[in-house]
């Protein structure tokens, strides 16, 4: 048994899992407040990463400025998607809305291939040191940043939904749209806000993952990995999304360890989360924290 490898992998799993949790939160946010299952979540990540990279390399901006510009871009993008594509679909059957988000995903993939090209590109080095040593573990700087960002985003979500006026308004809308309207809350604004927040946070996650690996359309795989996390946590629970994400991240890396040490199948890493997805759907279809009566698709 190679214990240090296991610990290293689990640390990686935790960090990646937090990131999954962040993306899963975005997914749940949209589902909860607008009842839309967003299959294009992964493309949001890729878009954020590409746009940030474009600002850095083509516009010659320093990383921080490019990062801020990306946030602005993603805000506008999120609002635009909601207003142009999803607002006309309010009241349409769930299946139509799902078809539209799948279509959006394919459209965005093609659009990004066209604009940014097919090949993977690396972020220029942002941190001075490649990796730092934390308690005897070799952790990449980008991973550390990822951990810090994930915690910040989660904390931000908590404060936003607990204390801010608009956070409360979003929760009210998720609870009952008509009740929210009777309180003077504009449901349209809440929907646009949900998509904006989701796009911003996904963009940030995309940049982080792009810095760790490299930017290419394969980043969208995170959008698929989010499903096991979300189903595990419960489709309508933000806390569940975070916990589901962390569990999936840990499990993935544990599967990698078991596979590498004993089984040598070579692909357990990718597949393990989906076994969990199937098992969860069989034994606890509403997830760990989900509301029992929500509609399944």
């Amino acid at each position: 048994m190679n214990w240090s490898l296991l610990v290293q992998l689990l640390a990686n799993g935790l960090i990646v899992g937090m990131l999954y949790g962040v993306v899963a939160m975005c997914f749940v946010l949209i589902y909860k407040s607008t009842q839309v299952v967003n299959f294009a979540q992964g493309e949001f990540l890729v878009l954020g990463a590409w746009v940030c990279l474009w600002f850095i390399t083509d516009m010659q901006m320093p990383f921080i400025v490019a990062f801020l510009f990306t946030l602005v871009f993603m805000t506008l993008f999120g609002i635009m998607i909601q207003v142009v594509i999803l607002r006309p679909l309010i009241g349409e059957p769930v299946v139509s809305v799902i078809m539209v988000t799948i279509g959006l995903s394919i459209f965005l993939q093609a659009l990004m291939n066209w604009i940014f090209g097919n090949s993977a590109e690396r972020f220029p080095q942002v941190f001075e040191t490649e990796s730092v040593n934390v308690a005897g573990l070799n952790v990449e700087s980008a991973y550390l940043m990822s951990l810090v960002m994930s915690v910040l985003i989660m904390g931000g979500f908590y404060l936003f939904f607990r204390f801010s006026k608009y956070g409360l308004a979003m929760r009210a809308t998720a609870f009952n749209q008509q009740t929210a309207q009777s309180l003077g809350i504009s449901v349209r604004q809440v929907f646009a806000l949900a998509w904006a927040i989701s796009a911003i946070v996904s963009g940030v996650a995309g940049i982080i993952i792009g810095m760790v690996n490299s930017v290419s359309s394969s980043l969208a795989i995170i959008g698929i990995k989010v499903f096991p996390a979300v189903i595990l946590g419960g489709l309508d629970s933000i806390v569940g999304a975070v916990i589901g994400g962390i569990i999936i991240g840990l499990l993935e890396n544990f599967a990698e360890f078991v596979d590498g040490q004993f089984l040598n199948w070579g692909n357990l890493f990718t597949i393990a989360p989906f076994y969990v997805l199937i098992i969860i759907l069989m034994i606890k279809p509403y997830g760990l924290f989900g509301t029992k009566d929500i509609e399944r698709i």
Partner: protein, 277 residues
């Protein structure tokens, strides 16, 4: 046909200060279900006005037409107009109506159950941006001391407490007009009394105008200044509350009979003859 209640003398000479006037509106659900057929009513500023009627008469629809919440139920005002404070609000989005000063306390209280009492109250003040929200929360607590003790989720409150929270939430918006839809629903007689006491106090303390929809006609007419009786999507009778209380037909239909026992046969024929339309 029913003879109308003779207009009282004071109603005739003093011109009323009207805050809300609903003028001959027609409401259609799902593009073909006609619910309100030419309904008109006026609400005097600073008064409590009761809107009474049987189930399905269209009382709740009237309130939703005023507040604009009709749209989320596929309803539409196809004719007539609603004027509030000199502005036409018939086709306004509900959030704008709340901003102009109308707040609806919906039927069944509609508390946000997975939030705390405090969060519910804060949401009541969603449209406000002045600094008085904190003071108003204390004010609501002084009206309903019981709410202050409840720190858990609002879903665990009793029916009466939820009704009080709903009224407190309406106070937080500082509206000019509160549309109250069946505040007595599902409450014990004692609580009903308490809730009506609170409604009266709200009206006296803040001068807020209240349009009250009720099944409990006796209670509603006891605290209202003016009353409207609806049937089949129309106003069939209206007058000062004290006159309505004395009206023989109202006694018969809404206040539980006039006391003397009638044979079943007589009641049947009486109702058939007295059908209001």
């Amino acid at each position: 046909m029913l003879q109308t209640v003779p207009a009282s003398s004071e109603k005739a000479d003093a011109p009323k200060d009207t805050i809300l006037s609903v003028d001959n509106i027609e409401v259609v659900y799902n593009e073909y279900v006609l619910v309100l057929r030419g309904l008109s009513l006026t609400v005097e500023r600073g008064s409590i006005t009761a809107l009474l009627g049987a189930n399905g008469a269209g009382k709740s629809t009237t309130l939703k037409a005023i507040s604009g919440l009709l749209k989320s139920e596929d309803g539409e005002i196809t004719r007539g107009s609603i004027t509030f404070d000199g502005q036409i609000i018939s086709h306004q989005e509900p959030e704008r109506t709340v901003r102009s000063g109308i707040f609806q306390v919906m039927e069944g209280r509609r508390i946000i159950q997975d939030m705390t009492v405090l969060e519910n109250l804060k949401l009541g003040a969603f449209t406000r941006s002045d600094g008085g929200v904190k003071d108003d929360i204390d004010l609501v607590y002084s009206y309903f001391p019981r709410l202050k003790e409840r720190t858990g989720l609002a879903g665990y409150l009793s029916g009466g407490e939820q009704q009080m929270l709903a009224i407190g939430r309406a106070m937080m918006a500082r509206p000019k007009l509160i549309l109250m839809d069946e505040p007595s629903m599902g409450l014990s007689p004692l609580l009903v009394k308490e809730v009506f006491g609170i409604i009266k106090r709200l009206n006296e303390d803040f001068g807020v105008t209240i349009l009250l929809v009720e099944q409990n006609a006796a209670m509603a007419l006891a605290c209202a200044r003016h009353g409207y009786i609806m049937e089949n999507g129309k106003i069939v009778l209206d007058g000062p509350a004290e006159e309505l209380r004395e009206n023989e037909d109202i006694k018969e239909f809404y206040l539980g009979g006039s006391g003397e026992r009638k044979s079943f046969k007589n009641i049947k024929s009486f109702k058939r003859r007295k059908r209001w339309l």
